[in-house]
Symmetry: C2
Subunit: 115 residues, 2 copies
């Protein structure tokens, strides 16, 4: 068993081309003994975004805080605190913060071999 | 891609011995095409609890709302909104709501073969 919160998880600035003003944290992962999947959290600052990319595994997202858009196939799908989103393997996608003054914070769960 | 929220997810009363006043929802799962794992949400009403049980897979939990306790080996570990918890395979565990008047709501993610 392991209990934690975001104040205890290291803040990492990902070196990803096409990303702007994002912070990554990994509160639960194989480092805590989890055999199948990991919970990462991304904070996207106002004006920030994740890279537009795709990968051979799924994301499951839960929006902890703020308002954003999930961009897929040039369409912007709004997401907000309390929403759940699933990105399937090989879907091109990008998250952007949609607020001028509030962070956008989301869980991004992935199979552990991709964390 | 699939975006949803708890107002759209069916509310299920689990038929589980040892459970009291809990509601299950499954916002993201293999039913939406996810290949590896599922996001379920449990709402535990004031006075309610999940069964004390164990299983051969991990849970990852995120506390969306409220205050509760995670009971393991007769020890009560407090958890509250914003906390993350990992229950490893075969650990005996139980969640209880610790509030007299507020629901305790948590994500409980599991490998999809156990949903």
């Amino acid at each position: 068993m392991y209990i934690t919160d975001l104040s205890k998880a290291e803040q990492i600035i990902p070196e990803m081309e096409g990303a702007k003003d994002i912070i990554k944290q990994v509160p639960l992962s194989k480092n805590n003994g989890a055999p199948v999947f990991s919970f990462r959290v991304f904070t996207i600052k106002p004006g920030g975004y994740t890279p537009s990319h795709k990968h051979p595994f799924e994301h499951m997202n839960y929006i902890i805080k703020g308002k954003g858009v999930l961009v897929m196939n040039d369409e912007e799908h709004p997401v907000k605190q309390g929403d759940f989103a699933l990105v399937l393997p090989n879907e091109q996608h990008q998250y952007k913060n949609a607020s001028d003054n509030e962070d956008f914070v989301m869980i991004c769960a992935v199979p552990e071999e991709y964390e």
